[in-house]
Symmetry: C2
Subunit: 264 residues, 2 copies
Amino acid sequence: MTAPVWLNGAVVPAAAARIDPADRGFTLGDGVFETIAVRGGTPCRLEAHLARLARGMALLGLTCPWPIEAAISDLLASAAMRDGVLRLTLSRGVAARGLWPATMDRPTLLLTLAPPAAATSQARLVLCRGTRRNQNSPLCQIKSLNYLDNVLARAEAAASGADDAIVCNTRGAIAGASAANLIIEHQGRWLTPRLRDGALPGTVRQCLLAAGLIAEATMWPKTLHAASAMMLTNSLGITQACRFEGRALATRDDFRRRLLAVAE
Amino acid sequence: MTAPVWLNGAVVPAAAARIDPADRGFTLGDGVFETIAVRGGTPCRLEAHLARLARGMALLGLTCPWPIEAAISDLLASAAMRDGVLRLTLSRGVAARGLWPATMDRPTLLLTLAPPAAATSQARLVLCRGTRRNQNSPLCQIKSLNYLDNVLARAEAAASGADDAIVCNTRGAIAGASAANLIIEHQGRWLTPRLRDGALPGTVRQCLLAAGLIAEATMWPKTLHAASAMMLTNSLGITQACRFEGRALATRDDFRRRLLAVAE
């Protein structure tokens, strides 16, 4: 990480930024984050990201002692990067051991910038066997620092030569990809898993739903086996899937362009 | 934290120990930990803790570049503390952004010492309403850094004036307390939730099962409502519960002493 970072009130070189070993973000995954595309110096869909962040903070009872939009502006002004990926991490900060100690310090707010994500033109997808998403936990509705089930899913995909794995919830319904929402073309309609099935409320997903381009549905592995095309959407882009479980999928360039026009 | 810590090969003052902001333990909860009681300068049940740590490392595909037992000895020799709580945290270390980047650095190994946990004589328990444990994820069988569902459960307990909350799994069966195994006296037998129901394989739980003092059972909220006594067991002790959902429970001092004798 060569770009400067914003940490707890100041822009500092990445090499000088220190997370305390007792930070509950590190010890317990106690915090939330957002990943935001930056294009031409401007964070994309910032309002939607900040709204989701606020919902995560409310669920966890987290406050932020700094104005977040000003922190983002400060970092972007300090960095030479006009296009890239901004990550905002807010943890509960340093505390004594234990799940809920009597006193806790101020939260930790970290903003980092990374180069633009390499565009994946066509993703090979598999069905995740190793783990399930817990649609019964409120955590699946926020972007918490507890991302290890998704890491396991992605590692499973990599081990089988695929780019991503589609994760089921504990009932066996489809929840989404490891770090993206799934949309599928099924019997002529474009569908995406429901929030109550464990889908993350993605900012691009929300745009596409609001525009009437996709609809929510409960889907199962058999629904995916009957799908003609699939795409993955997240803050950083919309990627077509070329294969699911080894079966070739159709490409839908025109539809993808329509989605991008709405999401941008 | 005033005691020194052991970080990536060296004992350093806590104030000088730096976790990199790009450490996957901080950004994704990508790692494992153990909490180990230290009595008279000796870590308790170390073999069982290291065995569980090894299972967690195998699941996550984590390696450790340092001999862990030597690191523990180094830290204990450097610290003035003869009795306390040793926490070992192993994360996947610093990496570029993304769930599974092509290259990842060496893992991060951190050992910290804290004063002995304050003994809770009698715990008031409630049933957790806000979240569920995901018995379908392999993560519930290891001590991963994804502890936020447990944090939510504990915060819920605190908000209702209780000391801990008993968490159900996604099927509604009892999994355990937020950071302890649950044992209950039910119709004259002492029972503990099964691993397949989401119970953590606790080191004390394992001792008590091996000694035949408790037995595994699938239990439901109604089982708890019919229990005459309850205790919580974890690495740091065995605590009697005085109330469950406001109902008074019996104290079983003699049985607790038998358990402690086996677990020590």
